[in-house]
Symmetry: D2
Subunit: 88 residues, 4 copies
């Protein structure tokens, strides 16, 4: 990962960890489960956003370099695998 | 949330928090972003599984009680809202 | 399904079928695959919207009636199954 | 799209159109909405599978060629847009 992407990802991870700690406090305090679910959905969206940024970075660096170096098959197989995993 | 559901959710939250801490260590150690992404996908799936358990508990308790007490409209509106949010 | 929900669903199905026929014509005319993909994403979103309407109708009728009649377990098991399948 | 990918996509489109026609007949015959939903979920999965094949073809041809020709920015911007749209 490039330096500024990594800094951004680490900032986002801190935010997500803080958000999850808040979810834990809600569960411990026995808050209404609908309100807890709304927070876990928000956490999930924050993770998805972070993934999109990591993936964009991956495309711009490793994928472009790999294709320039003729390693198309390896780079695209890996990308296909990621796509499959992302959708579940 | 009922006692055993809450205990299960708290266990799952601990696991997810530990997993995310592992993701942070990977990013700090500048691991290959494809490997990091595979771990964040796994975290996301673990959150989805936890949500499914919370939702099942919600259906079995609050939704059933609400409908028995004639609060169908309120209970179903809330459920519809959750459904929309879950899909994004 | 209640009458007006069914009429709405049939209208949406016609629209989706027409949209898919358009996708077929694009593929036959060898249009740029990125443009084809954008259309299939739109088709998928239209199906998801139609599903949300069917599900809301199901909750308001079969689920409420089932719970009033004491068939909670059956109704909720089915709902849980649908949720799992919706997410894949 | 390359010839064999296009033939595969057209076969899948025929299957999906047939499946949707079956959904329409179920709705017209007033089948149980849970059973209809299970079929629309299957249609949606078939569309997602078809999209994955189109995207793989796009990566192997247009993306690789674009990067080789130095059009990285355009090719990756388009790919990022597709990713965003796929997730909704």
């Amino acid at each position: 990962m490039q330096g500024d992407t990594r800094a951004d990802i680490l900032r986002r991870l801190s935010f997500i960890e803080g958000h999850l700690a808040g979810v834990r406090r809600m569960v411990e305090a026995d808050k209404y489960c609908v309100d807890v679910l709304k927070q876990t959905y928000a956490v999930r969206r924050a993770i998805e956003k972070m993934e999109a940024i990591m993936l964009a970075g991956h495309l711009q660096t490793c994928v472009v370099d790999g294709i320039r170096q003729g390693r198309d098959a390896a780079v695209l197989a890996e990308l296909g695998e990621l796509y499959e995993m992302a959708g579940r």
